[in-house]
Symmetry: C2
Subunit: 386 residues, 2 copies
């Protein structure tokens, strides 16, 4: 069987990581055939480390001429839908970095192009390979938790110093990224949120922009969400707290789940809350609880896992763990959060948000930006991040 030949669009921090994985044969049935980058120094790096790989300085050229089967898109977020659409038009499979894009309008078009092409479309939601969140999802879907009542997810462990923001000119600008923590650091968790818990019907967000940092985008977000079934949620994300927290608590009829430091504790009610409430007569008192350490046996396969699953989908039609079309869900949540803070509106439905208004306000921010970016030349080591 032939190897699936990958072309990587953009070999900055993340793209280089993927290049090493493919080049070093970590993905069975796949190889790295080509890369492109507008920065000549990045191409020199690849030429030196991976001499057989073809080099291009334009994505358009790579897509047109590289003799590849699939592209992996690892350029700034605005360009994900742009290059994905080009690649689909050329008949290539597409794996895009997260987020799917910056605004849902463009992502909707990308999804349509994917559908029309019939090609495999994946998104690098490597956190879906994290067995902890997969287990939580399974416990919810199997009914083990019963009806969901509340979640509180504090994600303040994405600490980024000013030097990080200064490492690339596009980082943390409206024109370059179209957002901050929601677009760059948190897309994984925003996806996990909807993947595990489903989409809320109302969003109210409160943000701080450039808190303690010389940046123009949000680096502190507090969101209140409401679900059709009455469940409520709080989602907190920041990049300036240290040491941070990553703690997810889910309250449900049959007990409470606490996810922290890669472990899951299930406080299980011996009688469901509703049943207890309906029958108890003693005033104070609550159901008896068992504390269970939920065993996690699977191993996180990360970026390589997503690359392997994507390759398998091309080769033998394996089901995608992270279908590209689902990228719009997390982005809809993110856009709804921004729109809510920008307009002061409560109750924005992420599935029915005013896409034109969002696009208009975002474009305004980029156009009216008076921010002067200070950049220091450096390539960051993304080992250990995602």
């Amino acid at each position: 069987m032939n190897m699936i030949r990958f072309g990587i669009i953009g070999v900055g921090n993340m793209g280089t990581n993927h290049a090493h994985n493919l080049y070093n044969g970590k993905v069975e049935g796949a190889c790295l055939a080509a890369v492109c980058d507008i920065d000549p120094s990045r191409l020199s790096y690849i030429a030196e480390k991976m001499p057989e790989v073809k080099l291009f300085d334009m994505a358009e050229d790579l897509i047109e001429n590289a003799e590849i089967d699939a592209v992996l898109i690892a350029v700034p977020h605005y360009f994900h839908p742009v290059y994905a659409k080009m690649a689909f038009a050329k008949g290539l499979h597409v794996l895009t970095e997260k987020p799917a894009g910056v605004y849902t309008k463009a992502v909707r078009e990308m999804n349509e192009a994917a559908k029309a092409s019939g090609k495999v479309f994946g998104i690098m939601y490597n956190q879906r390979t994290n067995p902890v969140y997969a287990k939580v999802r399974e416990m919810i879907r199997s009914g083990e938790l019963g009806e969901l009542k509340r979640f509180v997810w504090i994600i303040t462990d994405w600490y980024r110093s000013q030097s990080y923001y200064n490492s690339s000119s596009w980082r943390a600008t409206w024109a370059g990224e179209g957002g901050g923590v929601l677009l760059n650091q948190c897309p994984h968790q925003i996806d996990l949120w909807q993947w595990m818990l489903g989409m809320p019907c109302e969003i109210r967000s409160f943000m701080e922009y450039g808190k303690g940092r010389d940046i123009e985008v949000e680096n502190d977000v507090t969101t209140y969400a409401r679900y059709a079934n009455g469940m409520s949620g709080v989602f907190i994300a920041s990049t300036h707290d240290t040491p941070g927290t990553n703690r997810l608590e889910i309250s449900a009829d049959k007990g409470k789940l606490v996810v922290e430091k890669s472990s899951i504790t299930f406080y299980r009610n011996k009688i469901g809350e509703k049943e207890f409430n309906a029958t108890y007569r003693g005033g104070f008192g609550q159901p008896e609880v068992e504390e269970i350490k939920v065993p996690i046996t699977d191993v996180e396969t990360g970026h390589v896992g997503i690359l392997q699953n994507f390759t398998n989908a091309i080769v033998n039609g394996t089901q995608l763990l992270a279908p590209g079309e689902e990228g719009i869900l997390g982005l809809s949540l993110s856009n709804a959060m921004h729109l809510s803070d920008w307009t002061g509106h409560t109750g924005i439905d992420p599935m029915h948000l005013d896409e034109d208004l969002f696009y208009e306000l975002l474009t305004e921010k980029a156009k009216n930006s008076t921010f002067t970016k200070k950049t220091e030349k450096m390539n960051l080591d993304t080992e250990g991040t995602y």
Copy 2:
């Protein structure tokens, strides 16, 4: 030296508790001289258990004729300011149960009456005797945490079943309590919030009324708060989650504090975040952290501690741990939360809230109530609650 003679107004669940403490000599320098209650069966109970204590069926009569030095007010919240003002007018010292009242207008008048009388005025904020929160307060005030950035307090461990709500006719009604979890269960923590962290300048609250319960008031509250210095806060309270959580996390320049299960963990940055950010050049990376279990040596003295401190304040001018005048702070927070949810307004300043609008909306709710209260006769054992 003469004993301070207490009269207790209301010997329901909580008042009976206080009566036992005073009658059994748990408060040095104080004795129980009289009680009043509109329910004859409560007076029969006291007559049987505490034969020397004078009985009254009207608060007005007790205040006028009981030959006492101080009153302890333990009736439904609306009546706290009413009886406090009467008692001050008669020249009595006053210790009121929490909350100070239901709306700040009345509490402001009570505070003025207290000031005019020159008598000792305390409030039963017994959680201020909890050494855990006292320690957190001290760490903040001493500057050990540096500038505060964020707090998240999840207080979902006030589980109350329907049978609790059915135990008294005034419970969980707009006319009887003027609110739910904010007025009955959480006033302690709302006070601790402002006592430890100060008053925010903006409030936005989201509430559920009668969630999973046949009651008309709020039993699920999520509040976002903003401070003048840029700190943000999230305060979550409910009475229908089980098992619940009581977890306070405070993020600050010099580290993070986590308070849970009566223990404090301090994750201390070896270099403050601001300083680290200003000097670090490595992109990813954060200050080194030490994990410290903060020792708690003091013992919680609870209701008896507040009674003793109040008595000492009368006898030798000891400083009050919980001055009655401070009750308006927690109530202002609580009123601001309600007003924000009722009006949908963001950014309500609890120190400058529209008291007339709040009172008008509250009165409307009580007047327009179509709720039929089902009551079962019972006296709850409040041992172990506060």
